[in-house]
Symmetry: C2
Subunit: 330 residues, 2 copies
C-alpha cells in the first residue's frame, strides 16, 4: 500500500484506504476491437430470428434476452414444446470473455456455442440442415450472406460466425465500478466500497476476478460444504471424462449480476443475498453476517454496465419456398 500512497500523493490525488490500484484483481472491460460490422448486423438479425427454431417461435434472444441482462431470468429455460431445460441459461453479455462456453465449457468459443441450441431437441429443436434451408429460401438473407462472406453458399459455419461476431459486441463497459477503477472515486459509495473490500478479503476474488469478474476458470460447486444441486448437471467431467471434474462448473461472470437472477447453474438461488450467503458457506467456509452480505450485494450491483443499445432488427420475410414452422407436430 505504501508505494501507491507515495505515487498518488506525488500526482496530487486524494488518497483513501480504498484508492484505485493497478493491482486490483478486477479489471475494466476493454473496448471491443477488430469487429466485422457487416457480420454483426447479419448476426443480430439471426440472433433475433425464431425461424432458426423448429417452431418458428424460439430465437437466441428468447433465452438470452437482451432486454433482461442477456438471460431469461428463469431457473431453467423453456425449450421446444415447453420442455424444461436442464440448466440455467447463462448471460450472453460479456460471454466473449469466457475461457469457454456453456457451464461445462463444452464449446471452445462463441462460434462453437451458437450451433448447439439450434439443433438441440430440447431447445430450438431444429437441425443445421433445416436452418440453412430456411435461410437459403429468403433472398434478402442470401444476398446479405453473399455480401458479408463473399460467396454464394450459406452453411452453418457462416451462420454461427455471424452470430458470434454480434455476440462479441455485447460487452457492458462503464459500470460504476469500472468508473471507480478508472479513477472516479465518487462513482461508488463508501458502503459499496466496503463490500468490495469484503469481496477481496474473504476470498471471492480467488475465482471472481479479471475483466469479467469470473468466466476464466472451472471450480467445484461446493468446495468446503457439499452443494445439493437440483438437476443432473455433472459439470466439466461430462467433457473431460475425469471423475475429479465432477460438479466443476465454469465460474459465472458477475458483470450485470443484478440483472441475471436467478443464480447458480441450477438457478436455485433466487436473490443475490441468498447467492452470496451460499457461496460464502459452500466455497469459503465462511458465514457472512447480514451486514457483510448486504455490503457485498451493494458492491455487486455496481457491476452493472452499459446495456446493449441498438435498434430492434427487422427480419427479412419468408417466401413461398421457405420451410414452414412446425410448432405443434411433435
Amino acid at each position: 500500500m505504501k508505494k501507491h500512497v507515495t505515487s498518488s500523493v506525488a500526482l496530487g490525488l486524494v488518497v483513501t484506504s480504498f484508492m484505485v490500484s493497478a493491482n486490483e484483481p478486477i479489471e475494466t472491460i476493454k473496448p471491443v476491437k477488430e469487429i466485422n460490422l457487416a457480420q454483426v448486423e447479419l448476426g443480430k438479425k439471426l440472433y433475433f430470428d425464431p425461424r432458426l427454431s423448429k417452431s418458428g417461435f424460439i430465437s437466441c434472444n428468447s433465452c438470452h434476452n437482451l432486454s433482461m441482462g442477456g438471460t431469461d431470468n428463469l431457473k431453467t429455460s423453456i425449450g421446444h414444446n415447453w420442455q424444461q431445460g436442464p440448466i440455467n441459461a447463462p448471460t450472453v453479455l460479456n460471454s466473449s470473455l469466457n475461457l469457454a462456453q456453456f457451464w461445462d465449457g463444452r464449446a471452445a468459443d462463441l462460434k462453437a456455442q451458437a450451433g448447439g441450441p439450434i439443433a438441440n431437441p430440447g431447445e430450438m429443436a431444429s437441425s443445421h440442415t433445416l436452418a440453412i434451408d430456411v435461410i437459403q429460401s429468403i433472398p434478402q438473407y442470401v444476398r446479405e450472406f453473399k455480401q458479408v462472406f463473399g460467396h454464394d453458399k450459406v452453411s452453418i459455419d457462416e451462420v454461427t460466425q455471424a452470430i458470434a461476431e454480434f455476440e462479441k459486441t455485447l460487452v457492458t463497459p462503464n459500470s460504476p465500478f469500472d468508473q471507480w477503477l478508472m479513477g472516479d472515486k465518487d462513482a461508488i459509495t463508501e458502503y459499496e466500497l466496503s463490500g468490495y473490500a469484503l469481496f477481496k478479503n474473504s476470498g471471492c476474488v480467488a475465482c471472481h476476478n479479471g475483466e469479467a469478474v469470473g468466466g476464466n476458470s472451472f471450480q467445484k460447486m461446493g468446495v468446503v460444504e457439499a452443494y445439493q444441486a437440483k438437476g443432473n448437471a455433472e459439470g466439466l467431467s461430462a467433457v473431460t471424462g475425469k471423475d475429479a471434474d465432477r460438479f466443476k462448473f465454469k465460474v459465472p461472470t458477475l458483470r450485470n449480476v443484478e440483472l441475471t437472477y436467478p443464480y447458480f447453474h441450477d438457478g436455485e438461488a433466487e436473490s443475490l443475498t441468498e447467492a452470496v450467503d451460499l457461496m460464502g458457506r459452500l466455497q469459503l467456509g465462511r458465514k457472512f453476517s447480514e451486514d457483510e452480505t448486504a455490503r457485498i450485494v451493494a458492491f455487486l450491483k455496481t457491476l452493472t454496465g452499459d446495456q446493449p443499445n441498438f435498434q430492434l432488427p427487422q427480419l427479412p420475410p419468408s417466401t413461398d419456398a421457405t420451410p414452414k414452422p412446425q410448432p405443434f407436430d411433435s
Copy 2:
C-alpha cells in the same frame, strides 16, 4: 376522370391512365398525432416484458413480434405451456386504425385489447392482480408509472393505457404505394399498378379500403362460396349473439401483408398467392388467372411501409419481492 386530367395538365404533371386521384379508395397513412411520449416509452417496456405472463417467458412481442411485421408468422399462436391458440395472431401494426380489436371485434380499442392476453389462460396465463403485483415490486417501474400518470397506485388501467399508447405509434407510413398516392408516379411499377387496377375493378376494395386497406368493417368469410375453416372461431356472433353474424370477421388490414403471413383468421393460407386466389373465389365469385393473381400480389407487396424503428428497450430488474415466474407448475 376528365376533371382530374384537366387539373393535372394545368399543373404541368404527366398524366397516365393510373394517375393519382383524390378518389382512390385507399388513403395514405396519416401521421400519428397527440401522442403521450412518456406513456409510449413506458408502454414499450411493458410490451416487451415477459413478466406480464405467468411463465415469465411470453410478452406481447412474442406473438406480435415487431421484428416480423407485428405477428408471429404462425398459423395460430403458442401460449402458456405451449398451448395452441384458436386463431391467427393479427398484426399490431396499424391496429390503431381498426374499427375494433380482435378478429371478432370483442374489444372496442387497443386499451381494451391489451388486458385480454395477459389474463387469458391459453395465452400469457397471468391475472391482472398478479401482473400488477409484479410491477409494484419493481421500484423503477413504480417511479416511472408515478412520473407518467402522476399518482402512486398502479392498476391494470394504467398498464393497458401505456401499452395502447405505444401501439398507437406502430403505424407504417411511406410504403411505395403511399408514395405513389402522394404523387410519385415512379414509386411503383406499371406491373404493380396493373395489380392495383385489378384489385379495384374486381371488387377487393369493397372491403379492403381506407387508410389501413381493411380493418374498418366486419364481413362474412365465404360470401359466394362457403369457407371450410380450421378451428372453431365463430366470429362476430360470439360478441353480438346474432346468428346473422356467424363467420363474420373483421376484415384484416393489408398493410405490410407481405410480412404478416400466414393469412385468414385460421392462418390456413400460407402464401399471398393462395390468399388472393381464395378471396377471389369465396368472396367475389371470381377465379383470377395466374397472371392476374401475380399482378395483385405484386401490388399488395407495395403496401409494406416503414417498420417500427426504435432501440430495444431495457427492462428494470425484478427485486427479492417480485413474485417469481411459474413456467412449469401447471
